[in-house]
Symmetry: C2
Subunit: 462 residues, 2 copies
Amino acid sequence: MIFRTALAFLAAATMATAKTNFVLIFCDDLGYGDLSCFGHPTIHTPHLDRLANEGQKWTSFYAAASVCTPSRAGLMTGRLPIRNGMCSSKRRVLSPDSAKGLPKSEITVAEALKGAGYATAMVGKWHLGHLPDYLPTANGFESYYGVPYSNDMDRIAGKGPKGREGLMKPKSEYWNVPLMHNTEILERSPNQAYLTRNYTNQAVAYIEAQAKSEKPFFLYLAHSMPHVPIFASGAFSGTSHAGRYGDVIEEIDWSVGQVVKTLQAQGIDEETVVVFTSDNGPWLPFKTHGGSAGHLRDGKGSTWEGGMREPTVFWGPGIVETGIVHEMGSALDIFATFLDLAGVALPEDRIYDGASLAPVLAGRGHSPRQEMFYYHGSELYAVRKGEYKLHFTTKTEYIGQKPMKHESPVLYHLGEDPGEKFDVAKENPKVVEALVQLAETHKGSFTPPESHLEARIPRGEN
Amino acid sequence: MIFRTALAFLAAATMATAKTNFVLIFCDDLGYGDLSCFGHPTIHTPHLDRLANEGQKWTSFYAAASVCTPSRAGLMTGRLPIRNGMCSSKRRVLSPDSAKGLPKSEITVAEALKGAGYATAMVGKWHLGHLPDYLPTANGFESYYGVPYSNDMDRIAGKGPKGREGLMKPKSEYWNVPLMHNTEILERSPNQAYLTRNYTNQAVAYIEAQAKSEKPFFLYLAHSMPHVPIFASGAFSGTSHAGRYGDVIEEIDWSVGQVVKTLQAQGIDEETVVVFTSDNGPWLPFKTHGGSAGHLRDGKGSTWEGGMREPTVFWGPGIVETGIVHEMGSALDIFATFLDLAGVALPEDRIYDGASLAPVLAGRGHSPRQEMFYYHGSELYAVRKGEYKLHFTTKTEYIGQKPMKHESPVLYHLGEDPGEKFDVAKENPKVVEALVQLAETHKGSFTPPESHLEARIPRGEN
């Protein structure tokens, strides 16, 4: 066993620049505490637990933002939403009536890898523009299958119970969401109970096809679940200990298992890196239909840790060393990490907000990430450096609180106090000063571009 | 590898009744969320994670009570504190001025195993009576080394800052606690920074000695940590990401590693079952010096889940199958489980509140535990059956709330809602009725004996 592993590691090391495939699995509204390996008491995720044990479990890995669109914009570009035009103080995410999407001037990780000879595909939720100019196929993905925005958008007026009840006792027919193939709409109101399964089948078929190719590939599998309305297929409905939400997460776990099984069956598991993470924290007001941030405070939409820290696993036998990583990482680092592992240089014409985590994955170094900027829309609410996090403004989303600007910013030590309970600003004036300075320097270093989130399609045309 | 494991399993199966050793590692005030494998973001517990991966991680395992003395009385006897006289509504735990301890009429697991030919030893915190008649050596343990009650008791008047500050910036010399060997006091005010290490060294030495003997053994290693005042030795101070509390837990994790390493070095790991759990939840008012209940509500002293559910691991290669166990278990089941694994019949002259978990450990069956009774002192506050838990009275200890009797009891589904946030009593009247009936039947089935917690040594004599 040792011999084989050593050989595989050598082979992977020499082949890494030649052919490292990437499978990026991205969930929607998954909470930090929603997997067994992140401590959930009743949701059972054996496949993810196994990947976490064999690969790396990252306990301090951040989404680029606390809601869908800006989070995904950061993931795709390696740049903060405030820098790539995908945030706004007026609208937090794109809607079916949005006229724009990710700016053309941005380079996605798919474009960068495709330019370097990769085959690229996306399956699942995009949410960076649903009009042809902004779809995945216009952003470096050679193929696309999925729902282009959130599965609770495009509600059909008059169908089903109103408001939250409609979302918590849902039927697919309440929504007019499109299921797309490339730029074509395959159907409206697809049966959402099969979204996870269909996405998985598409992903598996793609991996099988690509395994036969000489080209390396990048597959972005972005589940629509567990965003409300939540649905599991018949095989999972009523099977978990944790109700409908548990069923949904356990089906996603099954999906991860299918992906890994396929990589292994095709003999390409040792030349592929799988990343699992989510776009933002759990949508807590949906109670048992929302997830749990576990030890962390608040959830989706919030710049408290529960809004942006995600349960993250990197796996790749022979490429990713085994371990728990407490250092910081972010979806903003995926761009640089994949390019590094693929042997592709970062574009030099723009500023990136992430750096390559490859040294950490290989067990050879520290994370380059020492800082994190927490934006709410286009406003900087908090900054983290090392273990300290300073909040200028807080807004507890769970209780629908209004933004609270702190005259004296509040400081937490996230190592001792991951739940952000005990303000230690008074005891650490120098830390506060340094973090205030960090925020000022950051804000003064660039002029945000025009937001692409505000433009709407004239009524009746969408 | 498969061949060897199968052989080991067969060997263990036939030898189980001949010689299965037990190492029971018990912590003090450890929170449900305080280990990496139970989701802590910054405390690193590689040894316990490994045991959880190789053995069984129990996600719904309960202490017998939410504070030290009754919890330990339940652990030792397999009987609820209300049945063995070790609870009271006047005093929750024994103190240095307590005149009594565990009633003579009770049979401890040490007594039962000793009677069946086991060597027995205890190292650590006892807290079931510090006078000679009540010490471990009077309760079936052939030897004892440790502090007989909590490490924050017996505070020396006038030494160090008062109240909580003294506990959070502590020096060992503030306390007069005795370190004992059998019935002798070795020293007063031992350096608490070395308690974990000293206990570990004693445990390792005992295992090494017993490995040479024909007799099977039972070792009860009950750490004084992480009960405040918390202390780690020099090798661990300042080394964790999680401050002093993290240092303390990581030293306990090291201790677990030492125990396992010793079992392996002595070649007795495949004939030994190691259990790791704690007496009650985290002492939350101590902030960063208290732990975290993770997903669960409230902490020490509470009948909310955070007070009584503990991070629990069973390990024993060839005896304990690998897996995550979501079924219920309790420290009350340890007595019957150990006796079962040792091939010793349960005494028939009394009622037990636990049953053998051996079928679950062997991967051959379901847990016998379907119910849990949550006592606060001598009053029944809540009951659980299956996934449902009904509270008659709640008292959130974290905020020092007074007991709140609910005219209509509140009901939670712990599968969907492990954090006990969403009362579902109205939607489930039949479940409420069944649980009310369960509580009534339970209370009507016995007359509690006289409490042993109230008697005090006359002033000046302790």
